[in-house]
Amino acid sequence: MLEPLIYDLSRPGRQGVTLPACDVPPTPLPDGLARTTLDLPEVDQLTVVRHFTRLSQLNMGIDTTMYPLGSCTMKYNPRVNETAARLPGLAAAHPLQDPETVQGSLALMFALQEWLADIGGFAGVSLQPAAGAQGELTGVLMMRAYHLDRGDTKRTKMLIPNSAHGTNPATANMAGLEVVEIPSDPRGNVDLEALKTLCDDTVVGLMITNPNTLGLFEEHVEEVVAAVHACGGLVYGDGANMNAIVGKVRPGDLGFDVLHYNLHKTFSTPHGGGGPGSGPVGVSARLTDFLPGPLVARVQDQGETQPPHFSLVTPPKSIGRMKAFWGNFGVLVRAYAYIRANGPDGLRGNSEYAVLNANYLRAKLEDVYKLPYDRVCKHEFVVEGVWADAPGVHALDIAKRLVDYGFHAPTNYFPLIVHEALMIEPTETETRETLDRFVHALRTIAEEAHTQPQLLKDAPHTAPLSRLDEIAAAKQLVLCCRPVALSA
């Protein structure tokens, strides 16, 4: 046992904080309202601090380690953004205050809407979605609503390449649409011919990730978009991989109708051990009326002398709201700070260095790791973590062994179209020295795979725990440490 459960540290009568005495005359509680037991721990403050500090020390994070988790853009999360999000004016404003009294928050959101629209080449942006997957649902519901609004009720299919992230097909299912999978061609692109044969008047649209989950820029992207538009469909862009192309090309210019940005990837907001994220969507002019409401609008330009003024408005054909209030505001603050600090050239430079770093790693590894798609990559690339002459060694073993060399593992077993995939995304914030150490580690591991495979199969050796039994977890299904009898 690495650290006891907080419940095991509990002793009757202890409490981690003092609370003010009641300064008003009390009102008796009616009978039957109050619960009789509450099974929360009782712990003093220092014990709480040590418990969670020790737990944190069992984690790897970007702050401790290079974290080349492909598709997740684990770049440095600037600390100044944390300070910004905690400024009392931003952190202590209530979402339902009169808009007149939160002009600072609205100005920030308005600027971010405009900046993201500019970066993506779009006519409108909603900041409401809480993560990439929610941005996808927002976008797909808008596409659906667009067709229905035109009286076009035959469209029920969503085309999705087989390299897509799982959230794409799951999103289409949530929206009540049928998923039709599109194969990839030998160069890792959408198979254009296959796509064309599937494009007809039953198609809502296409969900495409560009650069795709292989880290490759779609070589026929304009033809792909044209084929979908020709049959009356719309094109959804999964912007998880925007870190490769900010300032290099705008998805709106490529003809995309809607795209989600991941502020927790491209725009440096921390991943928090699983979230929170933020997944704003940008849309072309024909979809702006369908955006989820409300949006921030600038009202009555009062000329140069008056400061601009902002309000919340809901578009006329809005699909509705995606969450309570206005979005993951604290995440928006961090992304605003990031864009403000970097400026247009800084953002473009970040994408350039992200792509440079990925190609550097690719070039330094391609003689020992098989590259199923051997061409210039964008911000990430995928190798096969398996060798014919090292039977029994799998991508997972390589991932675990990297931990022993002081690196977090890459994404493994995704995308599904690559056998034993290892998806490597260094980001622009790693130095060349770190990249060289990473190359050295992966090259050494490739050697070990052939000479001492057991070393990989037993890895990690230096982590707090060795490999965990996932089958036992699913079988015994212990999801809670307390006996709960009430709902049985």
Binding site: L19, A91, G275, P276, R340
Partner: protein, 434 residues
């Protein structure tokens, strides 16, 4: 590095982008130093009124509670803050164990068997409960009954999420003082679930006794959307036979932060766990037999089930769940109850005084906690302007926005952060408007 790649310059690496679209001009403001960035944000922050500057009596789904200082200090540890979803359990035990403790605390608060790692917020948790109900009946039932006193935004999100699923949603048009029994009358054998709020959007604690029996008699599910802070005091929904308990966890010490990031929580019966969305952490052991934790039941999720997954959630609100776990650990069993009791006493103190003012009337047919409805002699906006600009008080929520029957009715919120002096100031200010 370019030499190693064999590229002449960085631009070569972007040759696959159509040349005429490459390197667009971006119309963003120029870069700022760290110092200037912070100054720019300070200026924006200065343009807001906020709970640090004014007494706040506004709730309606976002609450100003006191957060012990250790919460924010601990969640800023880089190993928590800058990690991601714990796909590699050997190097993520900190996150995994904290989620396991969170799940345990959600079970303790709600009385349910199992809980997940989080949803985006309470509203999306409710929408996922409806989708889960839809999955449970595999399309055999098509009707959803929503109480009109669920948070209006949560009801809105249910409509948005389910617009492609062909469900019919009823109940919301009933008057806001409808009794749960009248909602149960709408439940028939085409109904997949009834969802009610506890306390409801008007702060009132509906009597849920017997509701589940009526819902279950029709074969439907009972969903209770609860305020977890109130559950520090109130009978847990599982005791009333709820099948799903979900809600907004912001009241567990998360900052108001203009509406997010907040924390959706979700709990259900063990028998329904395979239909629940979201990440779930389970206990297991490593090769040496040491206890450890992993993400489990992944076969429900989008990355495995793809187009057959009923939820697409991937990134969740991990850090907010961690904050709530630390909050609950720090307050503990007695502290959480004490906070809820302070809310009870202070809100009743305020209601008693306001109800005695000529022209004002407290509308509380049922017990209430933290929030209560006041019928006012003037439009709520007018009252709020007076409170803010004359008395530096942020007033209540204008219920007329959501309920035509409640024109000129204000929802006031009083928590442990409101001192007696603040409440007396509010009452004094309102007395001038009588």
């Amino acid at each position: 590095m370019l030499a190693a790649i064999g590229a002449a310059d960085i631009e070569t690496l972007f040759a696959d982008i159509p040349a005429r679209l490459r390197n667009p001009q971006l119309n963003l403001p120029p870069a700022l130093s760290e110092m200037e960035t912070l100054a720019d944000l300070r200026e924006l922050a200065e343009d807001n009124q906020h709970a640090g500057r004014s007494a706040l009596f506004l709730g309606a789904g976002a609450y100003n509670h006191y957060t012990p200082q250790i919460v924010d200090a601990l969640i800023q540890r880089g190993e928590f803050l800058t990690a991601y979803t714990p796909y590699q359990p050997e190097v993520s035990q900190g996150t995994l164990q904290a989620v396991f403790e969170w799940q345990s605390m959600v079970c303790a608060l709600t009385g349910m068997d199992v809980a997940n790692a989080s949803h985006y917020d309470g509203a999306t948790a409710l929408a996922e409960a409806v989708i889960m109900g839809n999955e449970h009946f595999r399309g055999a039932r098509r009707k959803v009954v929503l109480s009109p006193t669920l948070h209006p935004h949560a009801r809105g999100v249910v409509h948005t999420y389910t617009q492609g699923l062909g469900l019919s949603i009823v109940g919301e048009d009933l008057p806001p003082d409808v009794a749960p029994a009248a909602l149960a009358d709408l439940v028939d054998d085409q109904t997949l679930l009834l969802a009610v709020a506890y306390p409801n959007f008007l702060g009132q604690i509906d009597d849920l006794q017997g509701l589940a029996d009526r819902v279950h008699a029709r074969g439907a599910l009972l969903v209770v959307m609860a305020d977890p802070l109130a559950l520090g005091l109130l009978t847990p929904p599982a005791a009333f036979g709820a099948d799903i308990v979900c809600g907004e966890g912001q009241s567990l010490g998360l900052p108001l932060s203009f509406g997010g990031p907040y924390l959706g929580f979700f709990a259900t019966r063990k028998s329904l766990v395979r239909k629940m969305a979201g990440r779930v952490v389970g206990e297991t052991h490593d090769r040496q037999g040491r206890r450890g934790f992993v993400l489990t039941l992944a076969t429900r999720e989008q990355h495995i089930r793809r187009e057959r997954a009923s939820s697409n959630i991937c990134t969740n609100q991990g850090l907010m769940a961690l904050a709530a776990t630390i909050y609950l650990s720090t307050l503990g069993k007695h502290g959480l109850r004490q906070v809820a009791e302070l809310c009870w006493h202070k809100s009743h103190y305020a209601a008693n005084l306001i109800g005695a003012l000529p022209g004002f009337r407290v509308v509380a047919p049922r017990p209430f906690l933290k929030e209560f409805v006041v019928a006012c002699p003037r439009p709520v906006a007018e009252i709020n302007d007076f409170l803010l600009y004359q008395r530096n008080i942020i007033g209540g929520y204008d219920l007329g926005q959501d309920y035509p029957a409640l024109k000129n009715h204000m929802l006031l919120c009083v928590t442990e952060t409101n001192t007696r002096a603040q409440i007396d100031d509010l009452v004094g200010a309102l007395s001038e408007l009588s």
